[in-house]
């Protein structure tokens, strides 16, 4: 067997996957060829490295996800809706988790709160403004009418002052009085 062919067969030789005749031929070549012996030892060492890899352990919540459909079906058959819901929830959460991976829950929560605050701000502000506007509106209305009534001679000016509820109110035709006089 020539060197090139032996080199191509070494990988399968390491795995004991050659025919008896091929195996013999490779073994004979190995006796003569230091390069191939070296390559063989390297292949063997690498195979052991790979075989020594510890199996990747599925995370605990992964099992619930995989069992989800069965748990749900069982719970439905047993007439236990809460169990079914719980299984469905576990399953959905596991499905969702594969889409949304939250690596920093603290930051995520903070970000959500900031967004909520920003969205709520105009709403709150708008409501406050509107309330404010209604207050002012009523005041203005009362003021206006009080002033109009003050200009008719038959109206009790003290009463108008009371209705206006504003000590500072200046009734038409009168000089301003100190605060509180209108109510008396």
């Amino acid at each position: 067997m020539n060197h090139h062919r032996a080199g191509r067969l070494l990988s399968a030789y390491v795995d004991s996957e050659l025919t008896a005749a091929e195996t013999r031929a490779v073994q004979e070549h190995l006796l003569d060829c230091a390069d191939c012996r070296n390559a063989y030892e390297n292949l063997r060492a690498m195979r052991e490295l790979l075989a020594g890899l510890p199996p990747a352990e599925p995370p605990a919540e992964f099992w619930a996800g995989i069992r989800g459909p069965v748990l749900r079906a069982r719970a439905a058959a047993a007439g236990a809706p809460e169990e079914g819901l719980r299984a469905a929830w576990a399953f959905a959460r596991e499905r969702l988790r594969s889409w949304v991976v939250v690596r920093r829950p603290g930051w995520a929560l903070a970000a959500v709160l900031v967004v909520l605050a920003l969205a709520a701000l105009p709403l709150v502000k708008g409501t406050v403004d509107r309330l404010h506007a209604t207050e002012i509106g009523v005041d203005l209305y009362v003021h206006d009418h009080a002033l109009q009534m003050g200009s008719t001679p038959l109206v009790d000016r003290a009463y108008v002052g009371l209705v206006a509820g504003d000590a500072e109110l200046v009734i038409a035709g009168e000089t301003p009085r100190p605060a509180g006089d209108a109510a008396r």
Partner: protein, 208 residues
């Protein structure tokens, strides 16, 4: 190998099959399948994808397909091959859906302002003892696997990590035996080059 209805059902996209209401025995059977294969399926998915999130996705999708097609899977059928083939196919689908950037080979030189650079692998020059540390070795192996094309990687994972014989691998992947041999040969050449310090350390370890 003949295509049975069950195999076709398993390979079909999930939309095509809906899960019927199963009997207690059928559910127990699914549980048995999960019990028996989950660790292997997950391990293969993890070694293929190289990260937990994708490994979860792939295994979950594979088992979901088994669940939906449960009634068409004959008891005692060689589910193993189907499951591993599904994982393999799902992984290749995943790669197709991913943006190109995620697909770039670790071997390809990086374009940087200072010219082309080749990625550095775990720096063992700074810490020569690291070649004996399991954690370091595992990381280097996973990284080296990531350099291989998915076809070569799958053969290595099935052979060297899961310990299947060539004939079984040929059956799982539906490729001729010769293809398994040549893929493994090529894959190992790349891995040898990538893992040289670790391989040499391992050989040195024998002589100690």
């Amino acid at each position: 190998m003949s295509e049975t209805a069950a195999t076709l059902a398993l390979m079909a996209p999930p939309e095509a099959v809906t899960a019927p209401a199963y009997t207690a025995e059928e559910l127990a059977r699914y549980d048995g399948i999960v019990e028996r294969y989950t660790r292997h399926v997950y391990n293969i998915a993890y070694r293929m994808a190289g990260n937990e999130a994708d490994a979860r996705d792939l295994s979950q999708e594979a088992f979901l397909r088994v669940y939906r097609a449960l009634r068409r899977v004959e008891p005692g059928a060689p589910l193993e091959s189907w499951l591993y083939r599904i994982v393999s196919n799902l992984y290749i689908d995943l790669l197709r859906r991913r943006p190109k950037a995620r697909l770039e080979s670790l071997d390809a030189p990086l374009d940087t302002p200072r010219g082309e650079m080749v990625r550095e692998f775990p720096d063992i020059a700074a810490n020569p003892e690291a070649v004996f540390e399991r954690e370091h070795i595992d990381g280097a192996i996973q990284q080296a696997l990531g350099v291989l094309s998915p076809e070569l990687r799958m053969v290595v994972v099935l052979s060297d990590i899961e310990g299947f014989a060539y004939e079984e691998i040929a059956a799982i992947l539906r490729v001729p035996l010769g293809t398994v041999k040549s893929r493994l040969h090529r894959a190992r050449q790349v891995l040898q080059q990538r893992l040289r310090p670790y391989v040499e350390a391992r050989r040195g370890g024998w002589q100690r």
